[in-house]
């Protein structure tokens, strides 16, 4: 054994603090998890072959793909709408503030499932739709609602509009987190308020916006399963359709659950990349800090 040197010229040689309880808890967790998996694997009531048969089924995969498309599109539309709503809510113009607040209250105040079914049944309330200039003969589009708005677009509209209400508050919090001196400096350079928002404030707000928006995306991916109620052929609907025929409900739930889990796990990679991208210039975060601990040299 070398004696730790008290001379400042040498590296500190210290034994790292021990955390024995971490190991104990980890072992308990592994045991519980193992027991649960084992109980599923050995359960007589579950047809394991059925799970593997449907895991890569064509309809299941196309359902999973539609789930991805719905999640991506609705998050994109919701984010754009949310940014507009957030800027409106922070505007000097009282009318814009009222519109934005009203929108947010309305869409957060009613259940998502109710909104989805509403958009799905729009054709019953308004059998025909026309888009044109009111009180004139000018009409751009006209037709049966059920033909103009497919189940897919009804689902997309419902998810996007609802999510925009939640995301608007996240974006607003992000904008408010940026020091007011930033907008002031931008103004003093002759930048317009739109330019300031786009180039100075929002890029900094992203740091605060991204983590909760990651949550929202995960939540959205799962909420797409609610579209089963209006017959959009996403993952959960496909699994239900198959189990309605072969009565293997539990097995198909496992199949769907597996894919939801896979998709959400993959989502964490772009999330991490984006957080790093917009964290530039804000100094090393805790995760970026590298602590070099020298082990006791024998």
């Amino acid at each position: 054994m070398t004696q730790p040197s008290l001379n400042g010229e040498h590296d500190i040689v210290a034994k790292p603090l021990k955390h024995p309880w971490r190991l104990v808890f980890a072992l308990i967790l592994v045991a519980i998890l193992g027991a649960f998996i084992w109980s599923l694997v050995t359960a007589e009531t579950i047809d394991h072959a059925m799970i593997f048969k449907y895991l890569f089924n064509k309809d299941i995969l196309s359902g999973a793909w539609l789930t991805i498309v719905l999640t991506a599109l609705s998050m994109l539309i919701a984010t754009i709408l949310a940014t507009i709503l957030a800027v409106m809510k922070l505007s000097q113009n009282p009318l814009l503030r009222i519109i934005s607040t009203g929108y947010i209250e309305f869409f957060r105040g009613t259940p998502l499932l109710l909104q989805i079914v509403f958009w799905g049944y729009l054709g019953i309330i308004y059998p025909t739709l026309s888009i044109g200039i009111p009180f004139t003969d000018i009409v751009f589009v006209q037709g049966q609602t059920s033909q103009l708005i497919s189940a897919f677009s009804a689902g997309l509209i419902a998810l996007s509009l609802n999510e925009a209400a939640y995301a608007a508050e996240i974006v607003r919090a992000g904008i408010l987190s940026v020091d007011s001196g930033q907008a002031e400096a931008a103004k003093s350079l002759g930048m317009s308020s739109t330019y300031t928002m786009r180039r100075i404030v929002l890029p900094q707000a992203m740091r605060v916006i991204l983590p909760p928006m990651g949550n929202e995306t995960i939540s959205m991916l799962k909420s797409t399963s609610l579209l089963a109620s209006v017959a959009v052929m996403e993952l959960y609907t496909q699994a239900q359709k198959i189990s309605a025929q072969n009565l293997a409900q539990i097995e198909l739930l496992v199949v769907a659950g597996f894919w939801y889990l896979v998709m959400n796990t993959v989502l964490s990679f772009p999330q991490r990349w984006l957080e790093k991208r917009f964290g530039r210039g804000f100094g090393p975060g805790v995760s970026g800090r590298i602590l070099k601990v020298r082990r006791d040299a024998k």
Binding site: A185, S188, M191, Y195, I200, F282
Partner: protein, 255 residues
């Protein structure tokens, strides 16, 4: 030879609610002159500076910069508030440096300097890059171009902020206590840059507690208290031979 007037303030008044912060400020700064503004905390120095580029609206009086009425259009006897885009245009000719730097933390030093020329003045990227490089060199930070503000010392950040304001080629520079957030050993570098800028003929209004700087660089020193100009004149008049008791008391407290 008479120099043209760069800044003219006539009876500027400003209130926040019932608190009247500026009670009729009248000042004149000629082209190429440096005016130093002194005064105790809360006397309205920052507010007055912010009125000059219309970061604050005013309740009375007029401010002209380079002959233009700031923030308003006068039709007959009536003032009309300008459209934000017209005010933004006026601000491009007026550079401002803040006590807390206010650099854009998500942009590197050189990007901070280039942002407004490219985005606002529609300069080409290469043109703006060249100008930004020579400005950073001028403030002694050519080697820090790729650093983010968080990687720079306070003094370096403030010098980038000066370069950023100069990139818009302003005809007037406003400084609001540019060195009072800095460690004492970093103050000198920033004052050196400002001194060079003054020598190059820039018109400057500087709110500062650096009496040495005011004595050396200023053409005019103005002492403000409680929203009024108490005393003004050359540095030697105001700093070495103050007439008003409030000026004397203030100078005793800072020296």
């Amino acid at each position: 030879m008479t120099k043209t007037v760069m800044v003219e303030a006539r009876g500027v008044r400003k209130s926040f609610g019932s608190n009247e912060v500026l009670k009729g400020i009248s000042l004149e700064v000629k082209q190429g002159e440096v005016m130093c503004l002194l005064g105790p905390s809360g006397s309205g120095k920052s507010t007055f500076l912010r009125c000059i580029n219309h970061l604050e609206t005013i309740d009375g009086g007029r401010i002209y910069v380079d002959g233009d009425l700031i923030g308003y259009r006068q039709v007959g006897d009536v003032l009309h508030e300008m459209h934000p885009s017209a005010i933004a245009k006026q601000r491009r000719g007026i550079g401002m440096v803040f006590q807390r730097f206010n650099l854009f933390p998500h942009l590197t030093a050189i990007q901070n300097v280039m942002e407004a020329p490219v985005g606002v003045s529609r300069k080409t990227k290469s043109e703006a890059l060249q100008a930004a490089q020579s400005l950073l060199a001028k403030v002694g930070l050519a080697d820090k171009a790729e650093h983010y503000p968080s990687q720079l010392s306070g003094g370096q950040q403030q010098r980038v902020a000066i370069a950023r304001a100069l990139a818009m080629e302003p005809s007037l520079m406003l400084f609001d206590e540019p060195t009072s957030a800095l460690d004492p050993e970093l103050v000198g570098d920033v004052l050196d840059v400002m001194r060079d800028l003054a020598k190059s003929g820039m018109t400057m209004i500087v709110v500062t507690h650096e009496i040495g700087f005011a004595r050396e660089v200023a053409d005019q020193v103005v002492f403000m208290d409680a929203g009024v100009v108490v005393e003004q004149g050359t540095p030697s008049q105001v700093l070495d031979n103050p007439q008003h008791p409030r000026t004397q008391a203030f100078l005793n407290s800072v020296l």
